[in-house]
Symmetry: C2
Subunit: 222 residues, 2 copies
């Protein structure tokens, strides 16, 4: 499949791009508001993969062109850019695509990080509200530490929680998830259940902040 | 130490009572609004432990008498009984005690379970607001599946997240937690971080509901 990572120049986009390009035969496209930046980062990813003996082509485009060419469109942008990023690519999406939302809303205070969803109730719900009606939306990859994901020497052995209301789209994202070595996909139900999934991200940061020796945490359901 | 499980006749109280009595030298007291019920359940727990070769005395009392005799008071009651249970035992608590809150607020709809905190922001915060000012409060044990905990043949190998603002009290609860075989205590920060911890409980239920073969889940940070 062809996977477009919109905001693929950022840290979570980098991690997903490298892992999919390294572990799977899927074609990875990097999207950015700035196509030069997208091409530059795509080249960096190619160089990193080449240094590990993996010869793949990763192309960079502006977000709309990346979305247009892809089957799977991952919104690897901060939560406050989700709505305008969808607006900029909406005409390129149709019911054969899957829109994937990995973002979560957090605020920080003196105590730590807290879940801070948009008024829609969750970022995934905001994506579903902002996307064209016929485009299926799946929430996934919220709880992955970007640095660990981008370090291809780092073992994962953690779970990815999926939320979504379209079973076929969810199955596609499950397959894409489990294509990455060390990730297990678990179904957390419909998009109405996204807030509890997105809340895990600030919790992971708080636990890492408060326990010596723990960092870049993921979660495993056992 | 002496640990009072208020609401210790319920399922999470039963699990903690059995595990502490089985795995540690701590003395377990069962509290209930109905002291006869507390004594009856305490006898059942003794019988279960005796069948496994562990000869311990577990006493049952009304909640106030259990709290009065204990160093650690666990509010193993539903969230809507937290405030009135604290009221009923407040005069028996002092700054040498530790009040432990394992409850979480959930509501269910067609999609699954959702975190539904009280207006205080979290159940742990409600406990802190309701407790006498000098009594330290620690949130813990929110994310343990009661049935798995009460089954002494079940392996745990999962994490318990602690929140609290009193370091000594948190250290006491950490020690009590890790006295139970297979539980690792992790510090999730202050009580202000409790909502993200309590939110994990409905998530565990949703994941168990949506994935064949998974049930009585716990969480592990890796």
């Amino acid at each position: 499949m062809r996977i477009a990572l919109l905001g693929g120049t950022g840290d979570i986009g980098e991690g997903l791009a490298l892992r999919w390009a390294y572990d799977t035969p899927h074609e990875v496209l990097i999207g950015s508001r700035d196509p030069d930046r997208a091409r530059q980062k795509a080249e960096e990813y190619e160089t990193e993969l080449d240094s590990r003996g993996v010869d793949v082509k990763i192309n960079g485009f502006d977000n709309a062109m990346a979305a247009d060419r892809a089957d799977i469109v991952v919104l690897a942008v901060p939560p406050y850019h989700v709505a305008d990023t969808i607006d900029s690519v909406a005409s390129k999406l149709d019911d054969a695509d899957v829109l994937v939302s990995p973002a979560t809303g957090m605020k920080r205070d003196d105590d730590g990080f807290h879940y801070h969803p948009p008024s829609a109730g969750s970022v995934t719900q905001l994506v579903a509200d902002s996307a064209p009606d016929d485009v299926p939306v799946i929430g996934a990859f919220h709880n992955l530490a970007a640095g660990r994901l981008a370090d291809l020497d780092a073992e994962l052995d953690i779970d990815v929680l999926l939320v979504g209301d379209d079973p076929d789209a969810k199955e596609t994202v499950r397959m894409l998830t489990e294509g990455i070595e060390g990730l297990r996909a678990l179904d957390a139900g419909g998009i109405a259940n996204a807030a509890e999934v997105e809340s895990v991200t600030p919790l992971l940061v708080n636990v890492a902040m408060n326990n010596d020796g723990l960092h870049d945490l993921g979660v495993r359901f056992e």
